[in-house]
């Protein structure tokens, strides 16, 4: 029998970036906040101390900081006609678990999304005509403009200590920054990091070809930094252990060293770890949440936590799962295209990248940071880029990062080299230091069949249905990868490498190899209950005291990484709750 606890103002489900931001903002405003985190407590020292944190096998291969699929996972199929089978081991994406969530083990790439992203349908209809948008591609505008969200992007960049170079400050183009970015109020809080040799080569080559290279914005601090809340970040030492690891130097903008400690300093805030929320409890009208049900997974005890506001701040996938398990909103049915929760799942296609091998160059791939890099946005944020020639919506950035040289995972060899044996070994020894990559990161437009629902067969450790993911890469994605991959290949050839491999072509989506933890959609935001699960303030249309915060709100996926707008939307939502909802609870318009 569950123990019923005392009611609080806000219960937050999941304490990563979004939960941490809401926890800080709302508790500082005097609201009584309880955060329920299904994983454990952790802190930089001792959890990320060297030498133990530099263990590639434990963290990068066995996924020590990630969710445990033995307890809860999802099932996957390419299309509704195929059997959906459990993702039994993590692979393609790596949702985090524990205090700080994926905000601890991310790389740190922190974009503001483009004006095109914020007004996707309007832009394509105006520029290319309605018929350019395929009938089965339900893209839609964000419910807020870039300009409305700008101060919140800024706030998140300040919190996370983002290093970069502005390209457009209040309408004035800035040399060295992203020529195609939207106007910003001010520059990044920290200057860009020192580029690697591979990035210098890419920068010079793309500039020579008439493109517009710039340093990719990243939450790896280029120098020691104290953020506006007084949280202190160290300077990045280019150690090459960002993604899948915690940062021992506190140089990676992470919630466990910024917003979460600030919330924990508030007497109105309480954190409970090992607390797994199984359901949002609704009243008899089904229009109001009365709290959440959770289990303390360290002892099995069940609780009910009543709250005036429920904020779902779990990983994007788990937000959607909880909504479906709790009957919040109408589940989406791809056959009838009725309903909304589960709709517009998107991901991030890859495969357009190129690896270059040089007899006479040394790249030292282990001198690396998760997010630093040189990018060009000429085939993505550029609104003059002629997408008719590509025959597809969206686009891709072309980047040279250098995220790590960890040898279990990073062992580049020229095409045609065997995977083992004498020849493999000679090639690995020869090329490890002498290869660089040019990456292509593509947008992903929604399709009516790419969606979540509840699985009819498989259950999690609580006996609840797993989430079912139906997803594949489609024609639009294949065209983007082919087109931009070709451009990446031209850039690579201009560097005159000894040999190069790629670009590949985009085939069927494969849930096994790691690609990115950029899973978006399922609880999308929009202008009306007919086109969205949540409104402009990420508030459920159906149950207005439930807020669903995270990349689950994106109606499509950009060619950018998601964390910039994820952080901005969390601040935006917290502001709306503090300044408006708190005074007048109910659906905000």
């Amino acid at each position: 029998m569950a123990t019923r606890l005392r009611e609080v103002d806000v219960v937050i489900v999941g304490l990563g970036w979004t939960g941490g931001i809401l926890a800080k903002e709302l508790s500082e405003a005097g609201m009584r906040v309880v955060a329920l985190e299904r994983g454990g407590m952790r802190s930089t020292n001792p959890d990320f101390a060297i030498p133990l944190i530099r263990d590639e096998l434990k963290y990068a291969v066995r996924n020590a900081l990630m969710q445990n699929p033995a307890r809860d996972t999802l099932t996957f199929r390419h299309s509704p006609s195929e059997p959906s089978l459990p993702m039994r081991q993590l692979g393609s994406f790596l949702p985090g678990e524990g205090l700080g969530g994926a905000g601890v083990h991310w790389n740190g790439v922190t974009w503001r999304w483009t004006g095109i992203d914020h007004a996707a349908r309007s832009y394509y209809e105006q520029r290319h005509g309605k018929s350019f948008i395929p009938a089965d591609m339900p893209i839609q505008d964000w419910p807020m403009t870039y300009a409305e969200l700008e101060p919140y992007y800024d706030k998140f960049e300040r919190t996370a200590g983002v290093s970069g170079k502005a390209g457009n400050i209040r309408g004035t183009k800035q040399p060295g920054g992203n020529f195609f970015e939207q106007s910003r109020d001010r520059d990044y809080p920290l200057p860009a990091l020192e580029p690697s040799y591979s990035q210098v080569l890419f920068n010079d080559a793309t500039a020579h070809m008439g493109y517009h290279p710039f340093p990719r914005p990243c939450a790896n601090a280029s120098r020691a930094y104290t953020n506006p809340d007084g949280s202190r970040l160290g300077a990045c030492v280019y150690c090459g252990h960002c993604e899948r690891f915690g940062c021992e130097a506190n140089a990676k903008g992470s919630p466990h060293i910024t917003v979460i400690p600030k919330a924990m300093a508030q007497p109105t805030f309480e954190l409970r770890t090992h607390s797994w929320v199984t359901k949002v409890m609704l009243d008899s009208t089904k229009k109001k949440a009365i709290g959440v049900a959770y289990t303390d997974v360290s002892n099995g005890q069940e609780y009910e936590q009543p709250a005036a506001i429920v904020a779902l701040c779990a990983y994007a996938i788990n937000n959607v799962h909880l909504m479906l398990l709790s009957s919040i909103g109408t589940p989406y049915d791809a056959t009838t295209q009725k309903g909304i929760v589960g709709k517009n799942y998107c991901y991030q296609p890859g495969g357009g990248g190129v690896t270059l091998f040089f007899e006479d160059k040394i790249f030292n791939p282990f001198m690396a940071t998760g997010a630093f890099g040189i990018a060009i946005d000429d085939f993505h944020a550029n609104d003059q880029f002629d997408r008719a020639a590509m025959g597809a919506l969206g686009g891709a950035t072309i980047n040279v990062g250098q995220s790590n040289g960890r040898p279990i995972g990073y062992r580049p060899v020229p095409a045609g080299t065997p995977r083992w044996g004498a020849e493999w070994k000679k090639a690995t020894a020869k090329w490890y230091l002498r290869a660089m990559n040019i990456g292509v990161t593509a947008s992903n437009m929604p399709n009516r069949y790419n969606a979540y629902d509840l699985d009819p067969t498989y259950k999690n450790v609580f006996g609840q249905p797993l989430l079912r993911l139906t997803y594949n890469f489609l024609e639009n994605d294949k065209k983007v990868i082919a087109y931009v991959g070709q451009k990446a290949s031209e850039i690579a050839r201009s560097l005159n490498p000894t040999s190069m491999t790629g670009p590949g072509t985009l085939g069927d989506y494969n849930i096994v190899p790691y690609q990115s933890t950029h899973n978006t959609g399922g609880a999308i935001m929009g202008s009306s209950p007919g086109n969205s699960a949540v409104n402009k303030y990420l508030q459920s249309w159906d149950v207005p005291n439930v807020f669903v915060v995270g990349a689950s709100a994106f109606p499509h996926n950009s060619a950018y990484n998601p964390t910039g707008p994820v952080g901005a939307l969390a601040y935006w939502t917290a502001d709306a709750i503090k300044k408006r909802y708190r005074q007048r609870p109910g659906l905000m318009t």
């Binding site: 060297i50 030498p51 530099r54 263990d55 590639e56 096998l57 291969v61 066995r62 990630m66 445990n68 699929p69 033995a70 996972t73 996957f76 390419h78 089978l85 459990p86 993702m87 039994r88 081991q89 692979g91 020192e194 690697s196 040799y197 210098v200 300077a235 990045c236 030492v237 280019y238 150690c239 090459g240 252990h241 160059k361 040394i362 790249f363 030292n364 282990f366 001198m367 040289g405 960890r406 040898p407 279990i408 062992r411 995977r419 083992w420 044996g421 004498a422 070994k425 000679k426 690995t428 020894a429 490890y432 230091l433 498989y458 259950k459 069927d508 989506y509 494969n510 849930i511 096994v512």
Partner: protein, 240 residues
Amino acid sequence: MSEQPNRRDFLKTVGTVGATGIAAAVGVESADAQTRPAAAAGPSTLTAVSHAFTFFTAPEAAFIEAAADRLIPADDLTPGGTDCGVAVFIDRQLAGAWGSGDRTYMQGPWQKGVPTQGYQSPLTPAEFFRAGIAASNAYCRKTLQKDFDRLTADQQIKVLQDLEQGRIAFDGISAQEFFNLLLATAMQGFFADPVYGGNREKVAWKMIGFPGVVAIYSEHIKTYRNKKYDVEPKSILDLS
């Protein structure tokens, strides 16, 4: 090529040229680390250590050592996979949490699925490995009249290539999936921190030029552009 030396020993000295130690052979012919081509061809940098297996049976250990030496052969870069600790690494991984199915969804029902749906076996990784070794040896006995570890190196390479390319089919489990798991685990053993028993004396890191876990490159990111960074790598074991 001559038949490989027998490896059916449960306690073995991992040797280099001139290493001394006791190899306790079980029941059969020669089990002499000193005569193994792996040791003979490698740089004599590895000190001898004794090791024992806790997961593999003697015949399984013989298979895995032979496979490790074909996947990662001895040459002038490093000793063979077994001498580098790869077989011991795999044994420990299978005996531990990962081998027992940690972080793996083990609930049924089970269906074969397509490769893009990933691992769908009801077996734990340890059980899967065991089944794969048994099936590989059964195939070798049927077609070549010997267990895998008794084949010549060339025959072993051919069998591994056939497994990799899907030219061999097993009953029950996917031969190709077994090969991929074997290869992935062997590479983990070769390149992981030596604290796990493989990559002995950081041979693999020295081979490629990976400096290990210290990794403070604030200045080097600029000063080592297009310049080799030659240092003695440091491992977790070195700093602990």
